[in-house]
């Protein structure tokens, strides 16, 4: 892994042609779409993208139109990582046999939280264990949005979805968010990181670092969905910033298991008074509106204490960092 610090300047990135183009059919204010656009900006050469079924896969490939200006493969929902495995195997051997030019090709597997944490977990774990050379990018909008906002294991505690609705007896989802990055780290991966699109430079750098790994790398990107979260489309980037500021979604990277907080989260470690209460994040999101009823206030307390506990644990895990 190279230690070079990439400097992605806005000017350079702004004029780089988009590989995920205009004309896609995502909702107005869709953060996953912005994430995909940014991820594609960070590519460094010949790239093949493979994607799991989901919002971003659908909106960019409505036949006969395509928003993808590179080779792109979709097959099914649970197997983005297995697609990547097949592509990786094919490239390796065909280059060895002289059936394909020897120029390096990066492989990016894209999936939502459904296609990563739930139905996609097996293929992901298998591909990572076998050491295929690919970057897996999870765009996490915390639900199965494309099929109508059903809960996933990435949906946070208390969120109202169509399969974990806030009713008169049950206040939304009762389970906590599955810690996918911990699962990925347990595989012993060379590079695991989290990012949000608001801090786009950080996101681009992490994509590039993931691509540089010769082997599997995993990037978990937080991506608000105004439709599913019943939040303002104009605030999708604001929420991705609030998530960091309230420690709901800290951003960090782990190189060979050694974790380091990224600057926006590091600031909160050094100046804890800047940490915002989770209420500031939950407010304005329709999926959490029921939590502001007096009878559900205990859930907000639960969310706060879970967030604090996870943050404290993360700080401890980062203590072993070299700087």
């Amino acid at each position: 892994m190279t230690t070079q610090e990439w400097k992605f300047t806005a000017k350079d990135m702004a004029i780089k042609p988009d590989l995920f183009t205009s004309g896609h059919r995502a909702c107005a204010g869709c953060a996953p779409a912005a994430v995909l656009r940014l991820v594609m900006k960070a590519t460094r050469g010949p790239t093949i993208v493979t994607q799991a079924t989901g919002c971003m896969e659908i909106v960019g490939s409505i036949y006969p139109y395509t928003s993808w200006n590179l080779p792109w493969l979709h097959t099914a929902f649970e197997n983005a990582a297995a697609n990547a495995a097949g592509i990786d195997a094919a490239i390796k051997i065909m280059q060895k046999k002289g059936k394909m030019s020897k120029e390096h090709i990066d492989i990016i597997a894209l999936a939502g939280d459904g296609g990563t944490l739930d139905i996609g977990l097996q293929a992901l774990s298998g591909a990572v264990e076998r050491g295929h050379d690919f970057l897996f990018v999870l765009y996490d909008n915390e639900g199965y949005m494309n099929t109508g906002i059903q809960r996933s294991s990435s949906t946070p505690l208390g969120a109202s979805t169509t399969t974990s609705p806030a009713g008169s007896v049950i206040p939304g989802k009762l389970e906590t968010k599955k810690p996918i990055t911990e699962i990925m780290l347990a595989h012993g991966m060379e590079y695991v990181a989290t990012a949000t699109p608001y801090y786009w430079k950080d996101l681009l750098t992490k994509v590039r670092k993931g691509l540089e790994v010769e082997g599997p790398a995993f990037l978990h990107v937080f991506a608000p969905c105004p439709r599913g979260w019943r939040s303002e489309p104009s605030k999708s980037m604001e929420y991705s910033k609030l998530a960091v500021e309230s420690c709901i979604f800290p951003i960090w990277e782990a190189v060979n298991g050694i974790r380091q907080l990224s600057t926006p989260s590091k600031i909160l470690q050094l100046a804890p008074q800047k940490k915002k209460p989770v209420k500031a994040y939950l407010e304005g999101q329709g999926r959490f509106r029921h939590l502001f009823l007096p009878k559900n206030s205990h859930v907000i307390d639960q969310i706060q204490s879970l967030t604090d506990a996870r943050w404290a644990k993360l700080l401890k895990q980062c203590e072993t960092a070299t700087n």
Partner: protein
Amino acid sequence: MSSKDKTWKELGIAAVCYRPSVGFMTGDWKTYMPIRDLEKCTTCLTCVMLCPEDAIRFRPEHGKIEFDLGFCKGCGICANECPTKAITMKLPEDEE
């Protein structure tokens, strides 16, 4: 001929896409449109980077930012994130 009229013999195999999506204008989705105060714009390019549609483009040859209303869906992220509040979202009739 509209794509929808093509027979099974005319369509290529395996549904390989044959039109780039830049041929599909999403601009008519918008309710609000972004209006810019050019005096406040510092060309920080935040709007260019965060627009989910690639509907805001930077033209280095004249150092200007262009809004492509043909694709802009009116989400308002640009207005919300602009550090100098150079962009406001307005209804088209308010601008006439």
